[in-house]
């Protein structure tokens, strides 16, 4: 090998790395540009609109059998609520948990767990699809959200239902919202039982939303308040949910 080749190789290598870095820098300048991102994020409204047109609003998510259950159902996001009040609720087996229903409703009210569990319930074995890409199958039993909303009497100005949660992640309170199509969907329940047992703390005890046609982050855990609103623009950072506010995950989590 002549001495000339190595420096030239090193030079070419350096050139390649430099060009690559420039191209990457240029790439990120576009792919992370806020106004570009705000434009492409409009695709979420397109997906939302298209699914509302193409998919029957009552169409059920697939249901499975006991044989399909995940041996271990992964718990992620918040798996505990670090407040003395919640620890007290665990000790009391959630006997004194209250679900507040307010906002644009004729009869703002609170439901105790006993009241919710005395109402007609629905049981379903469904697949939980995390936005990260994994899926787990579980059996859920809970009170149809439609029954709770009907009991409270929604104003006809209501467009969204907001779920306020007891848990915090990264110092922010978790919340989520859905439209009325998903809120009144027959499989949308506030689950208090999972795989035949009381809902475990890691999965959102005592109440978690199951909204089966949407991704996992829409399924709010530790639900303590339901609010009927015309717009979620004035709630937290205004994007309709914890992950939507924090990192611009799509509000319509149907894909």
């Amino acid at each position: 090998m002549s001495g000339l080749i190595l420096p030239r190789r090193r030079f070419l290598g350096g050139l390649a790395v430099g060009t690559g870095a420039l191209a990457l820098g240029g790439c990120d300048a576009i792919t992370e540009n806020e106004s570009v991102l705000n434009t492409i994020r409009k695709a979420d409204r397109l997906t939302y609109g298209a699914q509302r047109i193409l998919v029957d609003r009552q169409a059920l998510a697939q249901e499975f059998t006991m044989a399909d259950l995940s041996p271990t159902f992964r718990a992620n996001g918040s798996t505990m609520v670090d407040t003395p009040a919640y620890q007290q609720h665990i000790a009391e087996r959630f006997a004194n948990w209250q679900l507040r229903v307010d906002g644009l409703v004729a009869k703002p009210q609170s439901f105790s767990m006993a009241q919710l569990m005395a109402m007609p319930s629905r049981e379903q074995i469904t697949r939980h699809d995390c936005v990260e890409g994994w899926s787990a199958i579980g059996q859920w039993r809970g009170t149809p959200l439609a029954l709770i909303l009907k009991a409270a009497g929604l104003s006809n100005r209501t467009r969204y239902i907001v779920f306020h949660c007891a848990d915090t992640l990264d110092g922010r309170r978790y919340y989520e919202s859905v439209d009325l199509v998903d809120a009144f969907h027959p499989q949308t329940i506030l689950a208090w039982s999972m795989n035949g047992a009381m809902l475990p703390v890691a999965h959102g005890a005592p109440l978690r939303l199951r909204v089966e046609r949407l991704l996992g982050y829409k399924h709010a855990k530790y639900v303590e308040r339901i609010e009927a609103v015309t717009s979620f623009a004035n709630i937290h950072q205004g994007k309709g949910g914890f992950w939507e506010d924090g990192s611009d995950y799509e509000w319509y989590g149907g894909i």
């Binding site: 790439c27 193409l54 998919v55 998510a61 992950w243």
Partner: protein, 286 residues
């Protein structure tokens, strides 16, 4: 269209070698570049989405608690790719690589092939879901356009004589010897080109869109047969991943062919439409 000189009902005078002819119509060229951009963005943002959960399963479900048929991972000292029971050391490339600042990262695909280059599932999804629309609408428009302007019938339809194993074998040998069609024959897609374009347009890209939609919980309610067709949501995700790499394979072969067939002439024809008919290097009796 302006290319009636190629496909007109009246037989045109046979094109001479070295003559400039209109090779690709505007709709084909516009679609080609829309696809090139969309597939690049979809592939790179897709690798980032994979990084959020770098394991693949078969069936309806699959999470960190279930066995995966493919997994990319790493720790402080090494990176690996596991397929079934075999394991490949991928330190430096997959599962263990250094970012632009020189810090070790244990994500599956490295920063220089993902959109964005830092780890961000939401930004990757923003790009992926927007350009999935671009790809799908462009494919729908192109298929309808090609059906009506005769592109499918004239250029992609495989004639009966082309299906003969002898003909296909002859074409494979010619390609292997890097002997590409010249003269008038260069204006028509050869059988291997036809089969690979048909494979991409009618199989791979629709498969990407189909398996993509099969991962949508909203579409699963609307079209439950679609996810069942692929054998469950996690199977759809695995097929989506495999088909993406099949498209990457097509891209490399496509680039190699462009380079070997004469990059200037080929690239000019897909940008401007104009193509210079290559001259035969030697006279061969076929």
């Amino acid at each position: 269209m302006s290319d009636s000189e190629i496909h007109g009902d009246i037989a045109p005078p046979p094109p001479r070698a070295d003559q400039l002819v209109k090779r690709h119509r505007l709709s084909t060229r516009a679609w080609h570049w829309t696809n090139a951009l969309s597939l690049l963005i979809l592939f790179m943002s897709g690798l980032m989405i994979f990084n959020a959960y770098p394991r693949l399963h078969w069936g309806d479900r699959g999470s960190i608690h279930d066995a995966a048929w493919l997994e990319i991972g790493g720790d402080a000292s090494r990176g690996y790719l596991k397929i079934g029971t075999s394991e490949i050391d991928t330190t430096g490339v997959l599962g263990h690589w250094r970012n632009a600042e020189g810090e070790v990262r244990n994500r599956a695909f490295p920063h220089y092939v993902t959109i964005p280059s830092r780890f961000s599932l939401p930004v990757a999804r923003n790009w992926h879901l927007a350009f999935a629309w671009v790809l799908s609408l462009a494919l729908t428009f192109y298929m309808l356009r090609s059906l009506f302007n005769g592109h499918i019938r004239y250029d992609l339809h495989v004639r009966r004589d082309e299906w003969s194993p002898k003909h296909i074998w002859h074409d494979i040998k010619e390609h292997a010897r890097l002997r590409f069609p010249t003269g008038e024959a260069a204006l028509r897609y050869n059988i291997l080109q036809k089969l690979s374009y048909i494979g991409v347009i009618f199989i791979l890209v629709p498969l990407m869109i189909g398996t993509g939609l099969a991962m949508s919980p909203g579409m699963n309610a609307g079209l439950p047969w679609l996810v069942d067709l692929f054998g469950g949501r996690q199977s759809a995700r695995s097929i989506h991943f495999l088909a993406a790499f099949a498209l990457l394979g097509f891209f490399f072969v496509h680039m190699a062919m462009v380079l070997l067939a004469g990059p200037y002439n080929e690239v000019r024809s897909i940008i401007t439409g104009w193509y210079r008919i290559p001259q035969a290097k030697e006279e061969t009796a076929s």
